[in-house]
């Protein structure tokens, strides 16, 4: 502790603060500034993707066509997914990694600071390109809208207009950004740890990101290859996805889901890491089973790469193949369930308090387990043949991805905001946000299980009259859920602008569990931290 304080004194003596003006952000090589840009970018994308979801729910409020043309509706569904996955959740995870990993492991910055800035600035470029893909269909040269859903399956994606080319290159830019970011994160974790920060002293969040980054490096090139083949099929006469020339549209599905399934764990693992930091803090008890939790995350990452075809049970695979994918998928519930037990055992007989991050953490355990249960249902082949492409699937993955990753990111924001800004957030508003958010989330997505089981198909603008009640409830919940995020944005801005000063260790239990060195620096931390390696106690 005392050594770290002297390290800070040393830093401030030798170093000036942040550069002035807009150049600070455009040309930044500072992990904290880049992390902040990542987080703001993802907040903006969250609101943009959320606005699209509001339009979708408004259309589905009643059967029949009210607001949107079918093509535009499908375009919104596509872009809602792409923006939320690639624009909101992934950048937020990288933003947290940028801010926290160097401070946790006692590194002066990310290993390759300029590359880090490139990873960030590619994102706004990709966002511009994705938004233009929505706009070009309104021009005469633009062709049809991208109406495939985020999975971009051929042959529909081969037939779509110019917007599809823009989506393909959006995916390429995002892929470059994530691969470069992951290279940076792995290199930082492996090479930049303070001398005594050994592997099994690393905070669990750092471990979670190590596995995430490995996954990204392995899966994103596959998606890049797949969409490249799509581009060639569209414009250069190849026949990868056309059976008439000896190709196979199903091949694209395999490529997409070889990326797409591990992608779910890319979204999930950072939040699992966040839970591993938050729960010990507020239970005031060390993390139960630190090494096993690392093992479970690794097991999950490996298993996640070999079960992709459970998204495609209906394509006509052989019985042996579907059986293999079914068993593999059900096996995934073992490491995931064990992780949740890690967290529950950490809370067992702890001296718990329920600040906003902890409330989110507990609600995540409850609701993510629920997604796990519906996930096992969907993994079973004969059952899935019924549930496939219904709202049951929509309900399942929103329960998986909102509690499993988005709420984890909210929890992380509340947990680390005092460290980032030097101010405490308004606990009362935080709690209001939590209850508002979680209750309206359940009102939105819980009824979709029922409409799905009753047979309501997904990605279709209209529906049969029998599903009206469920959809009305769902839409009302969605509007409440959507508006709650404005409160979230307000809380963040209010905290940045001022508030009760946060101490260097804002949480009483912050030193319990597996913290790194993040609590040894001041709140907010100086512009440069750990320029000479600190001592780890």
């Amino acid at each position: 502790m005392s050594s770290a304080v002297t390290a800070n004194g040393h830093d401030e003596a030798h170093h000036h603060g942040p550069p002035k003006g807009i150049g600070r952000w455009l040309f930044s090589t500072n992990h904290k500034d880049i992390g902040t840009m990542y987080l703001f970018f993802s907040l903006i994308m969250l609101l943009l993707g959320g606005a699209m979801a509001m339009l979708i729910r408004a259309e589905l409020f009643m059967p029949g066509l009210q607001l949107l043309e079918p093509d535009l509706y499908n375009n919104l569904v596509t872009n809602h997914a792409l923006i939320m996955v690639f624009g909101a959740v992934m950048p937020a995870g990288v933003g947290l990694a940028n801010w926290m990993i160097p401070m946790m492991i006692g590194a002066p910055d990310m290993a390759l600071p300029r590359l880090n800035n490139l990873s960030f600035w590619l994102l706004p470029m990709a966002a511009i390109m994705l938004v233009s893909s929505m706009i070009v269909p309104f021009f005469p040269f633009g062709g049809g809208a991208v109406n495939t859903g985020w999975t971009l399956y051929p042959p529909l994606s081969v037939q779509a207009g110019m917007g599809m080319d823009l989506v393909i290159f959006t995916v390429h830019i995002l892929g470059i950004s994530s691969i470069l970011g992951s290279i940076n994160i792995i290199t930082t974790i492996v090479n930049m740890r303070a001398p005594d920060m050994t592997w099994f002293k690393l905070p669990i969040f750092v471990w979670a990101w190590l596995f995430t980054a490995f996954l990204l490096i392995l899966i994103l090139p596959v998606l890049a290859g797949g969409v490249t083949m799509l581009l060639f099929d569209r414009h250069f006469g190849t026949s990868f996805f056309d059976a008439a020339g000896g190709g196979d549209p199903v091949l694209f599905q395999h490529l997409f889901w070889f990326f797409g399934h591990p992608e779910v764990y890319v979204l999930l693992l950072p939040s699992i890491g966040v839970l591993g930091m938050i729960i010990p803090t507020f239970a005031r008890k060390p993390l139960f089973g630190y090494k096993p939790l690392i093992f479970f995350m690794g097991f999950l990452a490996i298993l996640g790469m070999v079960v992709w075809a459970h998204h495609q049970y209906t394509i006509g695979m052989s019985l042996n193949t579907t059986t293999y994918f079914m068993i593999g998928t059900i096996l995934i519930s073992i490491p995931v369930g064990l992780m949740l037990f890690n967290f529950m055992c950490t809370m067992w007989r702890g001296s718990m308090t329920f600040e906003t991050p902890m409330l989110f953490a507990i609600s995540i355990i409850l609701m993510f387990s629920f997604a796990g249960v519906t996930g096992v249902m969907l993994a079973v082949v004969p059952a899935d043949l019924q549930y496939h492409d219904t709202y049951f699937v929509v309900a399942h993955f929103h329960y998986a991805l909102i509690p499993g990753s988005v709420l984890g990111l909210f929890a992380a924001t509340f947990y680390w905001l005092p460290k980032w800004t030097g101010n405490m957030y308004d606990e009362k508003l935080g709690k209001i946000f939590f209850w508002w958010n979680v209750i309206s989330f359940n009102i939105t997505f819980f009824p979709q299980h029922f409409s799905g089981l009753a047979g309501m198909p997904r990605r279709i603008v209209d529906y049969s009259g029998q599903f009206v009640e469920f959809n009305v409830i769902s839409s009302l919940g969605a509007f409440m859920f959507g508006v709650s995020h404005l409160l979230f944005a307000y809380i963040i801005i209010k905290t940045i602008r001022g508030g009760e000063k946060a101490p260097d260790k804002p949480w009483e239990g912050g030193q319990i569990g597996t913290p790194g060195l993040e609590w040894t620096v001041s709140s907010p931390p100086p512009f440069h931290t750990f320029e000479t390696p600190p001592a780890v106690k």
């Binding site: 390109m129 090139p221 290859g225």
Partner: protein
Amino acid sequence: MSTTKEAYYIPDPSPWPIIAALGIFTMLLGVVLWVNDITSMVMWVGLLMLSGLFYGWFGAVISESQSGKYSAKVDISFRQGMFWFIASEVFFFLTFFGCLFYLRTITLPYLGGEGQLGKSNMLWEGFTYTWPVIQLPDATNYVEPKEAMGPWGLPLINTLILLTSGATITWAHWGLQKENRQQLVKGMAMTVGLGVLFLICQAYEYSHAYAELDLQLDSGIYGSTFYMLTGFHGFHVTIGTIMLIVIMLRSMKGHFTPKHHFAFEGVAWYWHFVDVVWVALYIFVYWL
């Protein structure tokens, strides 16, 4: 560990990353406009931006390196970064090899009527599967190739060229380690020469395939996989050759010391990676 107390070099704010992002954006937007027959200008502007960028950014890195700002720890970061970059490239190529494998073992036998699901041969009756696929299930939109590219002749020569270039770059590395500058430069020049020779042979092979064999991008799945795999490999050889030229010029200027030559090793790794991909290509695309 003596290096741990040294300060790690954190570069000052730099304009290059955001220029790189803009360059990539411009070039890819240009490709969209080009493939949709609107204009190819934007693509060239983007390419120009990127070339300028690489010149500027790498130039900055080289001068930082020459002024001794990079400690041993920075060197390790570069090495690990390069290693994981090549790992991602490996997976990019594995995608195409995986597709080839999937199409040859699952899709095409089905189309030819094999197995439980393909029993009826119902889509295109009478289509029989042979590899390479010369007769297509339905050639309405495609040009059927006259024959496939055999493994002997030019492809075999290309294999020998690349394998030799792997040896010459290692010989150059020995020269660097022995501080024999002449051997280093000679080795690099030979490697560059072999790389260029490979590209010339490849271009000749493509023109032969297009003109005489009717083997084109739109020749069905054989042409598609053939050009995708060899084309992306050829693209990587081109990039690799440019990097080798830079390393050769730097060697001639007296850069690199026996202990401090990450750039040389990074390029050598990349070149060996390109080599290994070619061997896999030779076996799975030309031969089997």
